[in-house]
Every structure is written in C-alpha cells, then in structure tokens.
C-alpha cells in the first residue's frame, strides 16, 4: 500500500475553472516521486489539493479523495497534516517577510513540542545545509534575495521533521550549484531518514535523476507515468521535457523555428 495516494481528483477554481480532471497518483513510502509537466498543467494545484491549502484559494475538490498513511485526509486542516508528518514547500517562496530568517525557520517547528536543545540542533542542521541562511539569519526575510527566500522556505519545512514533503519547484531561482545541493539534501533525507518526497519540478533532467518514479501531467490529466529511468529514456520525454532529440542536445540559440508542442490527449 502506498504512503500517499491521490485518487481521481477533480478540482475547480472559482466554481467555474476546471483545473484537475481526474488525477491519480501514488507515493510509496521512502520514495521520491517527481511530478512533471508544463506550465499550468496543474502540478501546484495537485500539491495544494494534498495539503488542503486549496481551500484558501477558492478551489474546490469536487471529486476523488486523498489518502495519507491509509487515512483520508481531504477534510483535515493543513495544521493537522503537518502534525501527521506531511509538510509542503509552496511555490513562490511565501516567507514571512517581517520575520527574520531565523524566526521563519523557528515557525517551521511550531508543531513540535521539543526542547530548546533539539530545536537548536534542527536549526543547526538547516544552517549546515544552507550556510547562506546562517549569514543572513538576522535579516528580515522580505529583504533577502529570491534564492535566499527559497532556501528559507525549504529549511522551514525541514524544521517540522516531516516524514513526507511536498516540494513545489525547489530549484526555481536557485543557482545551479545549490540546485544540486538541494537535490542532494533530498536524497540524503530520503535515504537516511526515510522521508518520502513528492516534487513538482520543471527542471526535468535533474528531477528524473534523483526520483524513483515520475508522473507527467498535462492539462490536468496524468498522461504518462513510470519509473524515472524509463521516463528519461522515452523519446517524447527526451524531446519535450529534456530538450534532447535524437540528434543530441540542441543549443538554445537554434530554437528559431516555429514549432508546436505535441499534445498528448487522453
């Protein structure tokens, strides 16, 4: 049985905009699952459906259900989910801009009832992962750079010591070196602490490199799924998501001809 399963979920925004048209996916325990797809495919919506943050955006789940550790969770509050070990890193950073970086991280530990020392240890761990944050620990998050905010958001989620993390575009706006590091951290947590991940990512190549399994979402539907290495060998995936065709990787300079993305229609 899978750790997290999304079954045939349909989501409507504002009563009229149908965004997810029956999405199903599974995350087995201790695995990293990548959710890929173009802009507007519904990746973030899927993640928000799982974490029930959707309600705050006037989105409704009209069909389907979500299960976590064998329990239905669609009626729970985000806070209860965090307590059960499911954290989300939202797209677009969402740091508390008036709080300092350190305070931001500490709010991440809100659900924990641990001692000061333990919190301190977690904090140190995050600073170890992101030394840049340590330097900027006393700055108000609102004034830090885009990438620093992204690190802060990830670090904040780690502070809750979750057993499952929903990561929405962790690499966005991050320098390549740190991107590698972030994925390294993901792998690290996954293998050492058995944390499961569902990550929505645009950077397909790196996502598939680290993930065990992948789903491709287009227009609110899952159009392809499979083991990560299988996906990265698929010709279509190669061409459309990895930017390598049979002839090898094309330079961005040569993309001058009118072409349309081939659509999968379920």
């Amino acid at each position: 049985m899978s750790y997290l399963s999304v079954n045939n979920v349909e989501v409507i925004y504002d009563h009229v905009i149908l965004v997810l048209k029956g999405v199903s996916l599974q995350v087995p325990q201790g695995k990293i699952v990548a959710l890929l797809g173009a802009n507007g495919a519904g990746k973030s919506t899927t993640l928000k459906t799982i974490s029930t943050l959707l309600r705050g955006e006037r989105g409704d789940v009209t069909k389907g259900e979500v299960q976590f550790k064998g329990e239905r969770i669609d009626q729970l509050t985000p806070n209860e989910l965090v307590k059960r070990g499911l954290s989300q890193v939202m797209e677009g950073r969402h740091c508390f801009s008036h709080l300092t970086i350190e305070e931001n991280l500490l709010t991440g530990a809100y659900t924990r009832n641990d001692s000061r020392a333990e919190l301190k240890a977690s904090l140190e761990k995050v600073y170890h992962y992101f030394p840049r944050l340590k330097e900027r620990r006393a700055s108000q998050a609102g004034y830090t750079s885009g990438g620093e905010q992204q690190m802060c958001a990830i670090g904040r989620a780690l502070m809750a010591r979750p057993s499952m993390i929903l990561l929405d575009e962790p690499s966005m706006g991050i320098a390549p070196q740190i991107v590698e590091e972030i994925f390294g951290i993901v792998k690290d947590l996954n293998s050492k602490e058995n944390v499961s991940f569902l990550l929505a990512e645009q950077n397909t190549s790196i996502a598939l490199r680290y993930a065990d399994f992948g789903y491709i979402l287009e227009n609110g539907r899952v159009v392809m799924e499979g083991a990560a290495d299988e996906l990265s060998c698929n010709e279509d995936v190669k061409e459309f998501y990895l930017g390598v065709s049979a002839a090898g990787r094309k330079s961005f300079r040569d993309m001058k001809f009118y072409r349309r993305r081939k659509r999968w229609l379920a």
Partner: protein, 300 residues
C-alpha cells in the same frame, strides 16, 4: 501662562490618552496577529460592557459574578467569530476581512441591544471618579483617582501582551499569520485555534476597556465610538506595536488637550475631532508606518 493649569491639562491629557490606548490595544492585538483591521473593536467594547451590566441587572448579581460570566461570553464570542467569519475568509484580501468586521460590528450592536435593551446604564466600579485628595493637598494638582487606576490597569495589560508577543513561540506564530495566512497554515500553525484564542483575548481587552469607559461615561451605545478616538493613536503608534499604542495614546491625549485649550479658542474650538488625526498624519509623513510599526516591506 499659568503653569499649574498647564500641568493639569497635560496630565489630564496623558490620562485620557491612556484610556484611548486601552481601546487601541485591542486593535493592535488583532491586527498584529492576523493582519485584520478589526473595525468591530468598538462594538466589542460596547457588547462586553453591556453584557456585564445586563447580567448584573437581569439576574441581580454582583459585579464579581457578572465579570466572570462576561469573560465566558467573550470567549465564546471569540470562538464563534473564528468559526463563522474568519475561517471562511482565510487568505482573502485584507479589505474583505476589514469589511467582514464591519458586518460583525453591526451584528454585535444589534445583538447587545436586543439582549439587554438600549437604555443607558451606569456601571459602578469600586473606585470613584473624583479628584485625588492626596495629590490635591500635596501638589495642588487635580488628577482623578479613577484615571490613575485606569492607567495602572492599562500599563499592566500592555506589559503582559507585549511580553506575549515578543519572543515566545506563540507570539512568533501570530506574527507569521499576519504576514501570510497560507504559508502559516503550511508550516502547521493552527489558524483556527490561534484566531479563536486571539479574538477571545481581544474580547477580554474589550471588556476591560468597556468597564473602564463604561464606568467613566455610562454604558451606552456611544462606547462604540471610542474606537474613533483610538484610531489616531493607532496610526501614530503603528498598527503592530503594543508599546506604540501606549506611547501613541499619551502623545495624542496630551497634545489634543493642549491644542484644544490653547489653540482651540483662537479658531472657534472643537478642534479635538480632527486635531489628533492631523497630528498623526504629520507623524506619518515622517514615518509612514507609525512610530513603532513594522516597516512596510516593498521590494521587487
């Protein structure tokens, strides 16, 4: 210029300022912790005070029983507000939440009058509102003993609440909520419980304010207007600062009294209505987020 009189005006103003601050604190509490500009604070003051007197009157009980009953009512009110008004409006534009509190204000005003009637009531606290004889005899300065007590109560409240907000976990969570509802939820801050508790605390602050103002001016509908006196205090002190509420209150109280007494007669008087606002506005031009308010972060 008569110096003694000047000091009387000054002290009277400072003490009135404390009374404004008492109402302002309730605002700050909610604004700071949820980003909601709570227009219903005035109505809550009225509701709390009227409930307290209403209970005393209807059931013939003493103040010492009525107060705990009212406390219970205000806690229930906090929970209800969270459930009915705030929860469905999570993550909505500030202005929608602001408007909802206006709706709440109407509702509370209607409810209070429906339950207890619209008559004006008196509320007698164990301390009388007469000049303190001691100060009169020793310093020849006229200060009401009631005002001195009110100042003490207010100071106590501010210190407690400021401590709560400063470095505690809950305080941090409250500030986080004010910044971003959605992200706060995502990190596991229980918005529901926090808001319910917060509104209950604001309700208690309203009760304290209501009892002091009610004892001063009678428990009547006009209590809902004291919020108007608190607004300039708020903008001057900053919407997000407890100490700001106190300092703002003192400045507004003192300067409006001095202005009315010394400038008023030259321009036909009655400038107390707008003077505090203009003063606060001038302050804002120098510091757009009030004296102690959090800087508004604008970065692209």
């Amino acid at each position: 210029m008569n110096l003694n009189f000047f000091f009387e005006v000054l002290i009277g103003g400072l003490l009135s300022g404390v009374m404004y601050a008492l109402v302002a604190i309730g605002f700050v509490l909610i604004y700071k912790a949820s980003g909601v500009f709570n227009f219903a604070q005035g109505a809550m003051v009225y509701f709390a005070a009227l409930t307290c007197v209403g209970v005393m009157e209807k059931f013939g009980v003493s103040l010492w029983i009525a107060v705990p009953v009212t406390v219970a009512v205000m806690i229930a009110l906090g929970a209800a507000v969270e459930r009915v008004v705030l929860r469905p409006l999570v993550n909505q534009p500030e202005i929608a939440l602001f408007m909802a509190t206006i709706g709440l204000a109407f509702f509370l005003e209607g409810l209070a009058q429906l339950m207890w009637g619209a008559q004006v009531r008196k509320l007698e606290l164990p301390i009388e509102d007469v000049p303190s004889q001691y100060l009169m005899d020793h310093y020849n300065i006229l200060v009401s003993q009631f005002d001195i007590m009110a100042a003490a109560v207010c100071g106590l409240l501010v210190i407690t609440l400021a401590l709560l907000f400063s470095k505690t976990k809950v305080g941090r969570a409250l500030r986080a909520v004010a910044d971003d509802h959605q992200a706060a939820q995502a990190v596991g801050i229980p918005l529901k419980r926090i808001w319910a508790v917060l509104w209950a605390v604001a309700g208690l602050v309203a009760l304290v304010a209501g009892m002091l103002w009610g004892a001063r001016n009678g428990v009547q509908f006009a209590l809902t207007f004291v919020a108007l006196k608190a607004l300039p205090v708020l903008i001057l002190g900053g919407f997000t600062s407890m100490p700001g509420a106190i300092v703002g209150g003192l400045i507004i109280g003192a300067s409006e009294k001095l202005a009315e007494v010394y400038i008023g007669p030259m321009v036909g008087g009655g400038i107390e209505g707008w003077f505090p606002y203009v003063l606060a506005l001038l302050f804002l031009l120098v510091r757009p987020e009030g004296l102690f308010g959090e800087k508004i972060i604008r970065r692209i």
